[in-house]
Amino acid sequence: RRRANDHLNSFDWISELSKPDFYAAPVTCFSHAPGYDMWDNIGIDMKVEVENTDCDNQANVVTGQTPHSFWVATVMNICGYKALMRYEGFDDSSHDFWVNLCSSEVHAVGWCATRGKPLIPPKTIENKYSDWKDFLVERLSGARTLPSNFYNKISDSFKSRFRIGLILELVDKNRISQVKLASVCKIVGKRLYLKYYDSDDGFWCHEDSPIIHPVGWATTVGHNLDAPQEYLERMQAGCDQMIEVHEDDATIELFKMNFTFEEYYLEGKTNGFVEGMKLEAVDPLNLSSICVATVMAVLKFGYMMIRIDSYDPDATGSDWFCYHEKSPSIFPVGFCAANGITLTPPNGYDINTFRWDTYLEETKSLPADEHLFHRDIPDHGFRPNMRLECADLMDPRLVCVATVARIVGRLLKIRFDGWPEEYDQWLDCESPDIYPVGWCVLVGHKLEGPPIVQQPVV
């Protein structure tokens, strides 16, 4: 009987893991996930000490207290953070079980002895060998185990760079052309629950997400900002000198960026994009579509405002969205056609008859040249049909079971299991919103399962 790890009524992967076609994306695909740095050294056939639940005293399993009885097991298979274990002494798979490799149920061989705990064989096989010492020496000598600091390093990699109370600038979900002052209210697995300064409304995003920015960012790059008067005055004063830093300010070193400001003001790099240029971009309001888009304004340090041409006409500019020129979500004209992706045409155009050359002529505009885009494709390791956990970015408090439906270079099409294609999300392979199988239970986040389909009553 295994420990119940989760009290959030989460989906449990266990029923899926042993299916022959189950294929999880390995932890080594997720550089932002706990344990990523150590996972190259985790493998099948490793020996570990794991909670023995086949013993007299099972109270700890029921109550969730710290496990007190352990036995040695071999890692038979790995799916994300989940490992299929076989207690030493069992000859077949009849008693194999899945555990989360990073949970407190699992330790390096030798961990029990350092705590004075004897290893206790499972009751089912306790009389199988007369001398367990000889058996263990034979089974363990020369085998691999986890590094002794594994659990501590995993714990360290859980820690967020942020803390509750820090203030930052967050894309306004009701007006995506501006950022709004917000503060960190809760942190679960490096996902931040942020509240806008002027409402009780909150928003979840990962701490590496490109929709959050340090204090002073909007003023520095020339982006629209909504903040209290006092904050605006501090920013205004900072325009002439340095922005005064307050104790609760989230500062730039906390944020993940794929470029540095120094590249622009020390090396004199300039933004090659020009207002009016056309391109293709992932729709920030509907991540399942890649659309015809226009550069509406060029900001500083490589940022620009783009508008999706399929949106209804809006002269206010409230639907412009800020992308950096190094964003993996923008593409040159022709990218979709070259990769067999359906391009969402501009408002008023037909999906079947839209042609870029005609459109450029009609709008008297230039395509953004291919060399302006940064399309290096890392050896990301994702493959079609791999399973994972993914935040629903249209309702980012939800992390759901999902599958890699398609891969185009570094772009992944993520399908939420049980949901139609229209809910798919195009995400970059380095997106901080995708996680290995077992991540939710590891960090204490609820995992949403597929929708429950009502069976017709016969």
Binding site: D37, M38, W132, T145, L146, N149, K153
Partner: protein, 34 residues
């Protein structure tokens, strides 16, 4: 692209304690990336 991570396996003496007594075995453990 993620930087390549060192892969270092070290032989180590691991202490085992059972109800019958304590002994040690030689195993391999990775030094991780520290």
């Amino acid at each position: 692209q993620a930087p390549s991570k060192p892969r270092r396996w070290e032989q180590k003496q691991v202490q085992i304690k059972t109800m019958e007594g304590e002994f040690s075995v030689t195993m391999w453990a990775s030094g991780g990336s520290d």
